[in-house]
Symmetry: C2
Subunit: 431 residues, 2 copies
């Protein structure tokens, strides 16, 4: 029976749950594996914080960097800073011949390129199942289970907070502001985190990691297009529903003409796409490969227990899997892709144009579209109460994004247009 | 670069697709792994059958048993007989120190107990990702990705043919007979396979394997309760829909009071259960563990390419994973569970009682229920055209199955009951 010695930095919800789960599963682990897991040291900012576990049984380190003076096999980084101590700990652990497990998506999205190379040079694992989609084992699915599939496209709901907000807006007819305050009151997001969540950055961090796993792309956060959900109104969700869609914050990545196209943005998802049924704080991912038309995974995207499950699965991986390519691809085979120009994307779109209540508006808008060969699929003209702007809702057939945006720029200059035009891509189910 | 030498027995849809995929992925595999896969020999019943691949490039063996005279590392069994040549080949391959990959659920469900022990004694892998749910990597998910989770319950749609039939009945208002003939004309099932599919046996074979992986249960096919879909009428599907449910053939397994309860049966699934949205030939599985409230996987349950993806993932597994417990649990830690008595199950139920069109029928039925303390949730009385039996549809609250069946036995004896009462368990979403 091999003893695996681990040290844990960061004892928040996830860190505490990791310890709790390891204690609870001690006998069970012996039924399935040839190792015992021994917690050699722990460290956190505040030693005296109230926690679900009794930390007095474990050796305390004021600085996690002192883990490096122990003979631990694995350093588990759950501090969660994008740079700072998290980065220093991971970097120095790898340099000192320790395996590293982290849940830190921001750090990996921003510094992963350097850190994964360092892991490879030292023949150590840098694993991160908990960094993407909480308890869903999406990393191991891509890295091990379908590793010899060529991924064509990955798309998912990678942020539970925004999905919860959109679900609340839909189910309870709430405004965006009301929904976000409920999400905050439930502890799903804090005002300081909200920008990361709502702005789409958190999802984009995760998508950066997934793109690397799927396409062997060098980790380059700058390749992401990012639009958050703050411009989505309750009315858009209602309009989408009338048209047969749900609005979700979708992160998707694919290779188009040898360029990488990674985008996090609200999108109208048709009801027969399984992502449309993913409600509340759940996460979900759909994978299309050369061998699989669709592989869909759904589960808890956050929460202590679920995320701890992923951290612990990485411990198991380090001592059972002998393929040390932490990103699936050999590090020297990663590709530095050029960013696909969004303006070249061909997609159907949903548009909301807020106009004055005067006659002839619709014919003026459609004549601009006609001039640019933009083909309209449906128009909903929804009269609001008097004196208010009239929203005109239009869905287009597939159109080159550049063409659409140029035409909308013209339309926006017209005096009858009273607000910025809302433009949301639409899932046509046939991409 | 290590060379992995494989031999393939059975060149039907799956076997041919494995060869095709290995040819297509040759360069891609080099980007991710340190091995080349070399097809050392092939064998099938009929050498001259038309296939998607050119087999003249590979060494032909009239009998796959002669693979054992080569120095191949892995024998891939895709013949698919429950016993016979499939069993002989797998057994002798393991005895001769070859790893084995198979897609053969019937063989594993019936003879797995012996075969997995043999694999363990010889320190060889016996892998079977392709045996359950086609392209969905459910085996590796349970065995590797969430291996240190204690599974509480697994439930799934494990047979695409029956799911296709139920979906056709629902969407196109078809009778069972019409739907099955369409499924046969599409090649999803043949008259000879239909009993395996429709009767629920194929699903139960797969569930047997999953139960072993989830709970460390000895492989014992006899522990399954099996009811097929042949008694489901279009009207039941319509009634279920009115009540907010879909009828699916569900396979589920859990441990109740230290006994194993494995059942394949039609079930009314509530719309908020993700299994309700799984339509057509898709398969899907939901897993509940001590750490995860729900992990849901959906994908293609059959088809050459998708199943080949699973076979190839097993090749990768053999040369990257050093935990040789093919069932996840150490073979000596498997448990011989007692079978949970179905009569002790507490569940809500859907009932269809075909009655004469005379007054007082309903009050008679409900008085029997009252005598047995069976609590009715809803009653739908749906008049059909004159002279025909009147179907009375009843859903109950949670009731002990034995109590319900005894009461129904009484009711069935009454002259106003014109047919066998249809009894389908109902998913209350709170199990």
């Amino acid at each position: 029976m091999k003893e695996i010695k681990i040290c844990i930095a960061g004892l928040g919800n996830v860190g505490s749950s990791v310890i709790q789960s390891l204690v609870d599963s001690k006998n069970f682990i012996n039924l399935k594996s040839n190792f015992n897991i021994n917690i050699l040291g722990i460290s956190a900012k505040n030693k005296n914080k109230k926690r679900i576990i009794d930390i007095s049984k474990y050796e305390w380190f004021d600085s996690p960097l002192d883990f490096l003076n122990t003979d631990c096999d694995i350093v588990i980084e759950l501090i969660g800073e994008e740079k700072g101590l998290s980065y220093d700990l991971v970097k120095n652990s790898l340099k000192n011949g320790k395996h590293v497990i982290t849940a830190n998506k921001a750090m990996l999205a921003k510094n992963g390129s350097e850190l994964f190379k360092l892991a490879d040079q030292n023949n150590k694992y840098l694993l991160y199942e908990a960094a993407v989609a909480g308890g869903i084992p999406i990393i191991k699915t891509l890295k091990n289970n379908i590793t010899l599939n060529k991924v064509k496209k990955i798309s998912g709901i990678l942020n539970g907070t925004t999905n919860y907000i959109l679900t609340m807006m839909e189910h309870d007819n709430l405004s965006f502001d009301k929904a976000i305050s409920i999400a905050q009151s439930k502890g799903y997001t804090s005002p300081s985190e909200s920008e990361l969540d709502i702005g789409g950055l958190d999802s984009a961090h995760k998508l950066t990691i997934l793109s690397s796993l799927c396409f062997g792309a060098e980790i380059e956060f700058k390749n992401n297009y990012i639009t958050g959900i703050s411009e989505i109104k309750y009315e858009d969700i209602k309009n989408a529903k009338n048209l047969g869609y749900k609005i979700k914050l979708i992160s998707e990545s694919l290779i188009v003409n040898n360029k990488i196209f990674s985008i996090t943005s609200p999108k109208l998802i048709s009801m027969n796409n399984p992502l449309a049924s993913v409600d509340g704080v759940l996460n979900a991912i759909n994978i299309e490969t050369d061998q699989l038309e669709s592989l869909f995974l759904e589960g808890e995207g956050a929460g202590g227990k679920a995320t701890a499950s992923s951290v612990i699965s990485d411990i198991n991986e380090i001592f059972t899997n002998i393929n040390v390519n932490s990103l699936g691809f050999k590090i020297n085979n990663l590709t530095k892709y050029t960013k696909f120009e969004l303006s070249n994307l061909e997609s159907p779109y949903y548009l909301r144009i807020m106009t004055q209540d005067i006659t002839g508006v619709l014919s003026k808008i459609t004549s601009y579209f006609k001039d640019s060969n933009i083909s309209v699929e449906k128009i909903l003209q929804l009269p609001e109460t008097k004196d208010k702007p009239i929203p005109i809702i239009i869905t287009t057939h597939k159109v080159k994004t550049e063409t659409l945006l140029k035409s909308l720029e013209q339309i926006e200059k017209q005096s009858f247009v009273l607000d910025k035009i809302i433009v949301i891509p639409l899932d046509n189910g046939q991409e």
